[in-house]
């Protein structure tokens, strides 16, 4: 075993203490009929061999293209300090801080995470973290159902399709109904349709889920959607992107009851799907409905300020079948990375990152329009938008060969939509370079000419 300390003599001493001759005696409680004869696996590899193997696999991924791909997961500049702190063994090899006397490091950083996310969302109660944006959204829907005692959820068609799919999985069963609210041609949620769906008194709505920006990058009329939801006695869940909250109105300001979102843009790598960071925040009125861990400030026996996990009796290890959620393991280390990111980029840096991404996105819009790919939706956007390109999946594939990752062909998610199947969803952030935008537009011109020809 590569990491164990025991010498043959150590093992012999332990066996002698136990009075056994062979280690097999400790496994005799496994019935013979099901005792495994051993495993058929590759390895073992020495650390050197392992490093070759892993480097070879990593090298087979292509990360060298000019990327305009976002769709819920975004490239941002991450201050070098973030990974140095997150690499400290004192943080990443600690367990959940159940013994607060020797866990103040983790506890205080979670409190600081909660504080900074409370500031970004303008909501009071922030969960110590969920798995990702999709599961945080699903948990937000469940919170609405519990808090209102109602059984129907409305989800805007502008919510990320993977979040919608996850929420469907979580709500599956005969108990709850989930319906989608269509978008208008400009890419915003159809408020008239929302109002009609809310008006069905026979099936009162527990919560309305609207994304800001939505999955097509469009900014939604959140204040009006919130007003409609509240008028019908429903809660409003804002599905948010955290870097955008440096410049966009925060959920608490327009009266949202819950904010859910993907925290990956706060200093986490793309990492082909995770580990990410589920953001979940709520008004103080809904604090007790929040699933997962919370850290609070208190004092010790000598009156010193200290931090501790609190409202523990809501959680599965105490409440068992009556717990709000089964969540146990969360994403504490990812929340730590987000905390260090926010502390080291600062409020002005975060605002600059968001606004510079918006500026680059406008450059991208002009360049693509000039190359024959106009925007699909007319609604306002921040740093991501869909453009119309005939035969988009083929164009996307041809651009890959020219070193351009041209966002996401929306046919991936909406193969049957006559507009979206001929569209690319593209984004820019502060790391997008003007030269890359020019290269994208030039390559698009070439490819369109070829595809047409």
């Amino acid at each position: 075993m590569p990491y164990g300390p025991h010498t043959p003599d150590d093992r012999a001493r332990m066996r002698a203490a136990l009075g056994i001759a062979s280690i097999d005696e400790l496994f005799e409680d496994i019935p013979l009929a099901v005792r495994a004869p051993g495993l058929d696996l590759p390895g073992p590899l020495t650390e050197l061999e392992l490093s070759f193997r892993l480097r070879a696999l990593a090298g087979r991924n292509r990360i060298d293209l000019a990327s305009f791909l976002g769709a819920g997961v975004y490239r941002h500049y991450v201050p070098a300090a973030v990974d140095q702190i997150a690499s400290r063994g004192e943080f990443y090899t600690a367990y959940t801080p159940y013994q607060p006397e020797i866990s103040q490091g983790t506890l205080q950083t979670i409190y600081e995470y909660q504080s900074m996310l409370a500031e970004l969302t303008a909501l009071d109660a922030v969960s110590a973290s969920h798995y990702d944006g999709a599961t945080a959204t699903a948990e937000a829907a469940l919170m609405c159902l519990r808090a209102t005692g109602r059984a129907r959820i409305l989800v805007s068609a502008g919510v990320h399709p993977e979040y919608l799919a996850t929420t469907r999985t979580y709500l599956d069963g005969s108990r709850f109904a989930l319906e989608t609210v269509p978008l208008r041609a400009d890419g915003t949620t159809d408020l008239a349709a929302l109002e009609r769906l809310l008006a069905d008194a026979s099936a009162p709505v527990a919560g309305v889920l609207v994304a800001q920006p939505n999955v097509f990058g469009i900014l939604e009329p959140m204040a009006e959607a919130t007003r409609l939801a509240h008028a019908a006695g429903a809660l409003l869940v804002a599905v948010v992107e955290p870097v955008s909250l440096a410049v966009l109105a925060p959920p608490g300001a327009y009266g949202a009851d819950i904010a859910a979102g993907e925290g990956q843009p706060l200093g986490l790598p793309l990492g082909y799907g995770g580990p990410y960071l589920g953001i979940l925040a709520a008004t103080s009125a809904l604090m007790r409905q929040l699933p997962g861990r919370l850290v609070g400030r208190t004092t010790d026996a000598d009156g010193r300020r200290a931090f501790v996990m609190t409202l523990r009796a809501r959680e599965q290890d105490i409440r068992r079948e009556r717990a709000a959620s089964n969540i146990c393991t969360n994403q504490a280390l990812c929340a730590l990375a987000a905390t260090v990111y926010l502390a080291t980029i600062g409020p002005h840096g975060l605002r600059d990152a968001a606004a510079l991404g918006a500026a680059r996105a406008r450059e991208l819009e002009r360049a693509l329009a000039a190359a024959g790919a106009p925007r699909v939706h007319a609604g306002p956007y921040l740093n991501e938008f869909a453009v119309h390109v005939s035969d988009a999946p083929r164009v996307h594939a041809a651009l890959l060969e020219r070193g351009i990752l041209a966002g996401l062909p929306l046919a991936t998610w909406f193969p049957d939509d006559p507009v979206l199947r001929d569209a690319l969803l593209v984004c820019a952030t502060e790391v997008t370079q003007t030269a890359e935008i020019e290269a994208f537009a030039a390559a698009l011109r070439d490819v369109r000419t070829e595809v047409v020809a």
Binding site: G4, D29, Y272
Partner: protein, 523 residues
């Protein structure tokens, strides 16, 4: 900070004699830290990214914009870095000391795995990148799925679930899909033993099932008669942790699985404790239909102060069609791709975004490959040997309620100390901190009074095990001589016991005053 802070006196180095009432905890620093908010001074700027050009946000309606910038801390890099480094010193961690936390498997986290997960090829790959750009990661995930099939004796694996608890939910949703696919809608109950993790009944509730609890027998296993009495046409599944949370192998496992199958239910194995039986027992061979792994336990991905983990789920033949999407597929030409949305209509759907927590899975892959089959078997053998060794050493000082061969962990109880001296398990745990060790899991499983669940793992030396046993023996002696020193422990940590009641009665969850937005009017 104006509060009094204990400082480490020079000369009180690790290795000082144990037992002295003011022995200092060698593994944790002492200086409490101000919050970032308190360090902040308006005007402290950083230069991380360029300023945007004027008019960057033109075209966005004013009402969509934030009227006030977020009041985040303004801290210079030296102050921010010192803040976090100094906070890290207040943490106990596997990298700083022995962490015998039962049911949590705080084994060594190999450093090569951290290096691997950070390789740019893995870390900078977008999850929606076309398959052609992701062949390295897809091959890794494909291989890992095959290896977990081999370890579990199952047919197929999904790597999507983000944690063990989410793996449980995934498994139970597949169980429901299977019953539904047979037109059986009457099955509304999930059976869990009374020793189970809280996640099992919480999972059952989340999936809309009623939890039926069966008691353990005197040997710590499932009481078969009690099980048979609750099995019936409403039984959807049993969730069985094996080895159990008492650290005992359920030697009636075949009878239990057969009885549940005979009643028309399915058998779910909570694989939280697979680290004890690698290469010794494969759930698929015993007839289990579905199980999850906790890779942050069995395959040593770091716990991160609470997460992230990953909870791959393995299934047998019956549940194959219902696996979450997307699966990783291998094409005829040997290339790999992700299943497309809607490609497999029988799937229960997604349980989270993207393919899974790939960064965690890279570490698990590296762990498996570094060990190979023989190494994994040795992992379990050494973990079981260490646990039995400690059980043997502590017998006589503490009560051992189920004093038979254990697997990777065992339960001790301080009931004898409580009876004789008034010292409780909580006091013993806190006093262990003064001896430089992390306490074991306490008051779990719930069915044992004054429980101490001790899991030494396979990566702790014999010297460490002896030192820990010596500390527990010294504390037991101290309980008789000076119980007050234990009631008020720890004495050497940066803070003493906390006022958890006030924390819960008047929650203070962030550094600004609560604004208290009101709930909308509900009927």
């Amino acid at each position: 900070m104006s509060e009094h802070i204990d400082v480490v006196a020079p000369g009180d180095a690790p290795g000082a004699p144990f037992g002295a009432a003011d022995a200092l905890c060698p593994a944790v620093g002492a200086a409490l830290q101000p919050t970032l908010d308190e360090l902040s001074r308006p005007g402290r700027r950083t230069a991380r990214v360029p300023h945007p050009p004027a008019g960057a946000l033109d075209g966005i309606p004013a009402e969509q914009l934030r009227s006030l910038p977020p009041a985040l801390p303004e801290v210079a890099e030296p102050d921010a870095v010192r803040h976090f480094v100094n906070l890290s010193h207040l943490n106990y961690a596997v990298d700083t000391g022995f962490y015998p936390l039962g049911s949590c498997t705080m084994k060594w986290n190999p450093k090569i795995n951290e290096w691997a997960a950070r390789l740019a090829g893995f870390a900078d790959l977008h999850p929606l990148a076309p398959d052609a750009l992701a062949q390295g990661t897809l091959e890794l995930l494909w291989d890992l799925e095959r290896w977990l099939c081999e370890v579990s004796g199952m047919r197929a694996v999904t790597l999507q679930p983000a944690a063990g608890a989410q793996g449980e939910l995934t498994g139970i949703l597949m169980v429901r899909a299977w019953h539904r696919s047979r037109g059986d809608s009457a099955r509304s109950e999930i059976i869990v033993p009374d020793s189970s993790h809280g996640t099992n009944p919480a999972t059952a509730s989340m999936a809309g099932y009623r939890t039926i609890t069966v008691k353990s027998d005197a040997r710590g296993g499932v009481d078969l008669d009690a099980l048979r009495a609750v099995l019936g046409p409403r039984t959807a599944a049993i969730m069985l942790t094996n080895p159990s949370t008492l650290g005992l192998f359920e030697d009636q496992v075949c009878e239990i699985v057969d009885a549940v199958h005979a009643a028309g239910g399915l058998a779910y194995m909570d694989g939280a404790n697979m680290n004890a039986v690698l290469g010794k027992f494969r759930p698929g061979d015993a007839g289990f239909d579905v199980m999850h792994f906790n890779v942050h336990k069995t395959f040593s991905t770091p716990h991160g102060g609470g997460g992230p983990g990953a909870g791959p789920v393995a299934v047998g033949e019956k549940l194959l069609p219902f696996l979450p999407s997307p699966r990783v597929l291998r094409e005829q030409d040997g290339s790999f791709r992700l299943e497309r949305p809607g490609e497999r209509p029988t799937s229960i759907g997604r349980v989270r975004s993207h393919v899974g927590s790939t960064g965690v899975l890279v570490r698990a892959y590296a762990y498996l490959l570094a060990h190979g089959a023989a190494g994994l078997e040795e992992v379990s053998e050494d973990a079981v040997l260490a646990a039995n060794y400690l059980r043997h050493r502590l017998r006589g000082t503490y009560e051992i309620p189920y004093d038979r061969v254990c697997k990777h962990e065992f339960v001790a109880s301080a009931s004898n100390l409580k009876r004789e001296t008034g010292v409780r398990t909580l006091d013993v745990a806190k006093r262990l901190i003064d001896h430089g060790h992390h306490p074991p899991t306490i008051y779990f499983p719930l069915i044992v009074e004054e429980a101490l669940l001790i899991e030494p793992t396979e990566t702790e030396s014999l010297e460490t095990l002896d030192d820990f046993a010596g500390a527990l023996e010294a504390i037991a002696a101290e309980a008789h001589e000076d119980p007050e020193a234990l009631h008020s422990a720890p004495h050497s940590a940066p803070v003493r016991r906390l006022d958890e009641a006030t924390a819960a009665r008047q929650p203070d969850l962030h550094w600004r005053p609560m604004t208290g937005a009101q709930m909308p009017c509900l009927d």
